[in-house]
């Protein structure tokens, strides 16, 4: 157990180091973007004197290394600065959007992970059968269709033609559970389309790999039922690759949800970041990038820990 703990601590240390490097990269790359917040705020009406006044006000005249240190210092102490576009604290802006993104990601995960596991395990158990092939074709075509097409067609059918579901995901503060589910139905469905396939394929491959091992053959010879073989013998050993595939897919749900956020007008954190890019709102942009990176590292860390805990052989290493 202590070795596991040490491993986790080591991984977290590496994650912090990665974050530091990422912060440097994010800061450098974002300052390479043409134009700055002063010019973008004024847009077409950016006269030289107006730009100069606004630049001074936003503190854009400081040299880059100094700005980086200020920003990093603020980040460590939990204050990522103020948005240049509207002068609100970045923390406040993110606090209003991040829970929404997490809710959408959570709902999607709650639907997609069980679905993907079921599809993967079923097609592994009945490898080569009609069911396996049908599921294969279905998942592959789901991942092959771009999500903006899925989303747009879904809106046309369910919102415009049938009028069963709303075309926008606008959830009032006092929404009932039913209203909430209706509002989230289309975006969650679209996102599931994108991520189920990958997880299902990975599950299938991992389970099939285990099913061809001698110990499974032994279990089958001893007369264990196929379901039991798959669920209690093969699956625990296949957990490692599966949780990694799940972590990768889920990491997509924060930043990659931008298309879904755009089409359903959902105020998540991905569209906040796109706004930040267009308005050259560096404090906001950098904070969003750091959040995405942290979320990704966290998911990968969780996946690794799960894989280790699920596999006694890895625990000892």
């Amino acid at each position: 157990m202590t070795t596991t703990l040490a491993l986790i601590l080591r991984r977290m240390g590496a994650a912090v180091l990665t974050l530091l490097l990422v912060s440097l990269v994010v800061f450098t790359i974002s300052s390479l973007l043409p134009g700055d917040a002063a010019q973008e705020t004024l847009g077409q009406s950016a006269t030289p004197e107006a730009v100069a006044a606004l630049r001074a006000q936003l503190g854009l005249n400081e040299p880059a290394p100094l700005r980086y240190i200020h920003w990093l210092g603020g980040l460590v102490t939990g204050d990522p600065g103020r948005s240049m576009a509207n002068d609100l604290p970045v923390r406040e802006l993110i606090a209003s959007r991040l829970p929404k993104s997490l809710l959408l990601a959570g709902l999607t995960a709650a639907v997609s992970v069980p679905l993907a596991l079921a599809i993967g395990i079923l097609s592994a158990m009945f490898r080569g059968s009609i069911l396996d092939r049908a599921l294969n074709v279905a998942t592959l075509s789901m991942v092959a269709v771009p999500e903006f097409l899925v989303a747009t067609i879904a809106v046309l059918v369910f919102a415009v033609k049938l009028r069963w579901l709303p075309s926008l995901t606008l959830v009032p503060e006092d929404a009932t559970l039913g209203e909430m589910l209706r509002a989230y139905a289309l975006p969650v469905m679209t996102l599931c389309f994108v991520i189920v396939a990958q997880m299902a394929r990975m599950t299938r491959a991992a389970v099939i790999d285990q099913l061809s091992q001698p110990y499974v053959e032994m279990a089958v010879l001893k007369g264990v039922s196929p379901t039991r073989v798959a669920l209690t013998h093969a699956l625990p050993n296949a957990i490692g690759p599966i949780v990694n595939a799940v972590a990768l897919s889920l990491s997509y749900l924060l930043g990659g949800a931008i298309i879904v956020e755009t089409i359903f007008n959902y105020p998540g954190i991905a569209s906040l970041m796109v706004d930040a890019v267009t308005s050259r709102d560096m404090p906001l942009l950098q904070a969003c990038a750091m959040i995405f990176c942290s979320a990704y590292l966290l998911l990968v860390l969780i996946a690794d820990v799960c894989a280790i805990l699920a596999n006694p052989r890895l625990r000892g290493q």
Binding site: S45, L54, V155, T262, N265, D275
Partner: protein, 511 residues
């Protein structure tokens, strides 16, 4: 002292008419407005840069929000004539010194009474660079504004400008409370009060029961959101999730037309996308080259193919036919490749190779560039189209290359349009065009008291820009809004879509 005959008077009983009166819209006059109801409106943009500060308003969503929450001293009617709003009368003798008397008993949303101090503060804050006002350059014309008592303001301009009543009607000049610097909430005198404002998410406003126009507004609540994706915006309308949208693509008009529950409204306001031909450097500065580019614009094709007929052919000058100062009868410049070839040959420029910068930031410019490139290649002129992203276009490309596309929103007065884009020393003189005669006329027209003479001066300026200017303006692009047919009282004010952004106080829902 005063000689009433010599005064330009905007008063309640004056020629201009009362602000509270009906708009020049037949529909409004006929139907009986109904109180109550809630609508959701989706515009094309919404981001964390959304603001409650009228001075910073930059996009249609901002203008709509500001007209809901604030009122101006004047406001436009359906013919772009400024009518009195918070001002009870506006008088001037020399168009330099203006006496503005305020309507009495107007209340801010927090109950405070409107006074001259609020007006002075609202006007003068634009001149402070830290305000970040979009109309700072316009406000520079105001030398001084001072309160005389509680309900009278004296405004002194730097030089005469007869257009002041029109300038005061634009959204950036809406009146805020004296001393306001924190715009996290909005306290105005407008038809609606702020209930919720989340930048980039939504704005919710509720009816202001103490609005200074008795009986108005009609709706109980309006929710304003932004849906940047046009297809999603149209879908939201068709599925009944929103009742009014703007910036409809001409391609979507068929889909909306097929719905019995929805309608489209075309506003011919004078928005245009233009080619700016830099006049301050060779080879584009050659007058023959400039004229050749104008003759290479296939205006009819652009109108038909790019905008599906929702555009009006323009004539290389920026004043639209809906504008009071439009000069009719200026001969239309035609698509004439032969003439262009002749001109280019005469200038010895037929064999130059020039880059042409277009971007989705300037609506339709990418397609216009292709059409122009095609036409040019037929006569042997090689134009290389550089399609650059919308992101950063205005700061990095626009006006910086010999041939770039610009995009200009309608301005309420001919003076603003010319002063901002065509005056020799204007910041956005896109083509770097210099014409002393034009500058003279512009200043003289501001001061001219005689309306007929003034109109003629603006006509002369249109001729100058048409003949000698450095921009090619192929068409005026119509603003297309689409709405739920149950929404009544919706019309056009040709300064932009959504009834010149001020639909909120006019519309009601059918029972």
């Amino acid at each position: 002292m005063r000689e009433p005959a010599a005064l330009d008077v905007l008063s309640r009983r004056g020629l201009i008419g009362a602000a509270g009166g009906a708009l020049v819209l037949p529909e409004v006059a006929l139907a009986q407005p109904r109180r109550g109801g809630r609508i959701r409106v989706a515009t094309l943009s919404s981001s964390v840069a959304d603001t409650l500060d009228p001075a910073k308003g930059a996009l249609s969503t901002d203008y709509v929000r500001h007209y809901m929450l604030y009122s101006g001293l004047t406001q436009f009617d359906g013919r772009l004539t400024p009518r009195l709003a918070l001002a009870e009368s506006i008088e001037t003798r020399d168009r330099v010194l203006w006496r503005i008397r305020l309507r009495k008993g107007v209340q801010f949303h927090d109950g405070k009474t409107l006074t001259a101090a609020d007006v002075v503060y609202s006007l003068m804050r634009h001149k402070n660079p830290l305000t970040g006002s979009k109309v700072k350059s316009v406000a520079e014309q105001i030398a001084e504004a001072k309160a005389v008592g509680t309900d009278e303001v004296l405004v002194r301009l730097v030089s005469p400008n007869a257009d002041l009543p029109s300038i005061l009607a634009i959204s950036q000049f809406l009146i805020v409370k004296d001393g306001t610097t924190d715009f996290r909430t909005a306290v105005g005198t407008g038809p609606y009060r702020l209930k919720l404002f989340k930048p980039g998410v939504r704005t919710i406003v509720t009816r202001n029961p103490t609005y200074w126009k008795a009986g108005r507004p009609y709706l109980d609540e309006i929710e304003l959101i932004g849906i940047p994706d046009e297809v999603s915006r149209v879908n939201a309308l068709l599925s009944g999730d929103v009742q009014l949208i703007n910036a409809v693509n001409p391609r979507s008009t068929k889909r909306i037309g097929a719905s019995t529950r929805h309608a489209i409204l075309e506003t011919r306001a004078g928005l245009f996308t233009n080619l700016a031909v830099r006049q301050d450097r060779p080879p584009t500065g050659n007058p023959d080259f400039t004229l050749a580019m104008k003759h290479l614009m296939d205006r009819e094709l652009i109108r038909r193919a790019l905008f599906r007929g929702y555009a009006t052919v323009a004539n290389d000058q920026p004043i639209a036919p809906t504008h009071p100062y439009y000069l009719p009868g200026l001969p239309q410049r035609a698509y004439d490749p032969e003439k262009a070839k002749f001109l280019l040959k005469r200038a010895g420029l037929l064999n130059v190779r020039l880059p042409l910068y277009a971007s989705p930031a300037a609506e339709g410019s990418v397609d216009m560039a292709s059409i122009l490139q095609e036409a040019a290649s037929k006569i042997g002129l090689r134009l290389a189209v550089n399609r650059v992203p919308a992101d950063g276009y205005w700061s990095t490309h626009w006006m910086k290359h010999p041939l770039t596309f610009g995009n200009t929103n309608p301005r309420p007065t001919a003076d603003l349009m010319f002063s901002l884009f065509y005056k020799s020393d204007a910041d956005w003189n896109e083509s770097g065009w210099r014409n002393a005669r034009f500058d003279q006329l512009l200043l003289a027209a501001r001061a001219e008291a005689d309306e007929a003479k003034r109109k003629q001066m603006y006509g002369d300026m249109q001729v100058l820009v048409h003949e000698k200017g450095g921009v090619a303006i192929p068409v005026f692009i119509s603003n297309l809004d689409a709405y739920d047919r149950r929404l009544k009282g919706f019309g056009t004010i040709p300064i932009g879509g959504l009834m010149g952004y001020s639909f909120a106080e006019y519309v009601w829902l059918e029972g």
